[in-house]
Point group: C2
Chain length 396, copies 2
């Protein structure tokens, strides 16, 4: 029972710190309230954690005022669960209600919150919402238009940077959860040789691996892609009924979760034997990863990571890169800001949790991907995934 | 190996039919192109199936022109996978690219597609996107604003009804997949007495059930909520470390998937013994379900289903209903249109797959939920879930 030893959720002061920092940034940018609508944003600010978001029927809203705790404006089905969080002010409407899916209640609540700000500052105020890259608004577009009319003369402005700059740095408690799931998945990968063998179908292999991860303590395995064969070019693939043969490579890439935090790394292995080409491709991505891990210090940038990997990879492979980046942020989502690209230039800071994920084109248009997870510490990287073997592992 | 006997995916003519019907509806509403951005919509029109959507980094676009096959405008990481679908015209950009996340390529493609329409009809054309209830736009708001400028004088208009009216009726091939996962989950529930016992924690119970569903052939268990205790009021709950005791009720509600199609039903059981109050609450929701299943004929409405259930439930329970509906559509998402509410009034048609899900307030603010899945047939319902016992099952 390895999965009972780490506290679930967060104490209230974790959320207080998040919101306090957010309000400081809001103040700097003249943002009087911040509206979030998506699962990770709502969870980040409240601790509200449920898979119910998969139902598209109901929108959920959380507002961060310029001071004090966030206010939830949610469907009544979530009231009992939201009351378990640190929030005090929870307003609900009976949903589904196609004629008004919370828009009037949300508009009134926003205006009430802004009125408090207006008394001190006056004028038309700005409500921040994330409108930039990697974001979306989880509410019907028509309702958003109505809401804009309701809150006029106040306006919505893009405030992606505020939530991004907070979430990009992980607290020690967040890192513990990511570390936990990375350990579980590392153990899972270590069991593949006893779990999967030639003669199984891809689908059977996926199923066995998924079950093993749960047995080892993963809460969920929301993201699992992989492939088998002499090589593969689709690296976001679902399993087929293809039977694994001697000489095949196998790649699994999983985003598994513990208490709502993700791992995201892959492993490549071969059954019985492998080719020099495959082995050599593997060594190159392993070395590229090594190079990135060596330069990942505070003050360096995501583009330094990219450059370290690119200098190991062949130039042809970089030009034909279809993935578009060599790794990314990691946390409440399987991929988060930033991206390790040539031009991203995000400065690495202590507490950032990242993946390095070089990919190499080899053989006949095949892709070899390698990935590790780590946290940026003052003196370099702390690996969260157990470092893969420098040589392509053979399963006998 | 019960999970190898049903073909994966769909033959091309399934998609041809969907798109042909869609184009007919588009024509009726003077919509020259239809743009979709979310996972179920893209999968519905193309068959593109990957968990990669969990990464928020990259938007994905599919356009249905007024005639011919859909056109994909997607990040290059998805090109190989999209080429496996029935689509011919696949345009890609290298992503992530924060300065242009596909907007120019999408705008150019839309204009190119509309130009063909303009030749015959002239003037400013309308591009449909889903903007109504239960929808959202999965792309950054700022990019949507840019896109609106790019495509001017053409405009985006709400076309929720078009995709809704298509997806609400399931083909026999879709029903087969839903039926398959409902059977698997029914088997899983039947094994609970041998799987879960007093002394286990909720978390252990969830884990055991999740693993069992995978072993029985579920591809994934994306949605699993539940609770234990003398009663519970949070019905979208994640597990805790609470230890199951004699006399406890247990409720699991799962949306599991087979080939991308969901089941969605729950079961209630008790350990060792139960109270008259719990038993009586269970019987009422069972009877309410029975009443709904009896009236579910083509020509009846979702409000008739609601009324049939409401007439069995106590009036107090209906007034304090926090769930907001007594069931909903089911398919590629764990909940879909329509909703069984007092005023929904969607006319039932053959091929609709629905849940009936009455809930009852009992004891000290506890909620008892019961749910079954079925398809509307010409002569009544065909149950997809194995009908629950009329009496609350006791696990000894």
């Amino acid at each position: 029972m390895t999965y009972l030893d780490l506290a679930r959720g967060f104490p209230e002061d974790e959320f207080e710190k998040r919101v306090f920092k957010m309000q400081k940034l809001m103040h700097d940018k003249c943002i009087s309230a911040f509206l979030v609508t998506t699962e990770p944003e709502v969870r980040y600010l409240t601790g509200f954690h449920t898979p119910f978001w998969q139902s598209p029927t109901r929108p959920w809203f959380v507002i961060v005022p310029h001071a004090g705790k966030p206010v939830a404006v949610i469907p009544s089905i979530g009231e009992v669960a939201m009351k378990e969080t640190w929030l005090d002010d929870i307003r609900t409407w009976s949903s589904p209600n196609p004629t008004d899916e919370g828009v009037v209640l949300l508009g009134d609540t926003l205006k009430e919150i802004l009125d408090v700000s207006s008394n001190s500052s006056g004028g038309n105020l700005q409500i921040g919402i994330p409108m930039g890259n990697e974001t979306h608004l989880r509410m019907p577009l028509m309702d958003y238009q109505k809401l804009k009319d309701v809150i006029a003369p106040h306006t919505f402005v893009d405030a992606t940077e505020i939530i991004q700059s907070l979430r990009i740095i992980k607290s020690e408690r967040e890192i513990e959860k990511i570390s936990k799931i990375c350990k579980i998945v590392s153990e899972g990968f270590a069991e593949i040789p006893t779990l999967i063998n030639t003669g199984m179908t891809e689908r059977e292999a996926f199923r066995a691996f998924r079950i093993k991860l749960l047995e080892l303590g993963a809460d969920e395995v929301p993201y699992l892609v992989g492939a088998t064969g002499q090589g593969f070019s689709d690296i976001i693939k679902q399993p087929s009924d293809r039977i694994i043969e001697p000489g095949d490579l196998i790649m699994f890439d999983t985003g598994s979760t513990y208490d709502g935090y993700f791992s995201d790394f892959d492993r490549n292995m071969a059954f019985d034997f492998t080719t020099d080409d495959a082995n050599s491709a593997y060594k190159i991505v392993w070395e590229a990863t090594e190079a990135a891990l060596e330069v990942a210090l505070p003050g360096k940038t995501t583009s330094d990571l990219w450059q370290a990997m690119a200098s190991v990879l062949e130039s042809e492979s970089i030009k034909s890169d279809s993935v578009g980046r060599f790794g990314h942020g990691l946390g409440m989502q399987v991929t988060e800001w930033p991206s390790n690209t040539k031009n991203d230039r995000t400065v690495l800071q202590e507490g950032m949790v990242l993946t390095v994920e070089p990919n190499l084109i080899w053989g006949h248009g095949h892709v070899m991907v390698h990935e590790e997870n780590f946290v940026v510490r003052g003196d370099g990287v702390e690996l969260l995934s157990t470092r893969a073997c420098p040589e392509l592992e053979i399963i006998y």
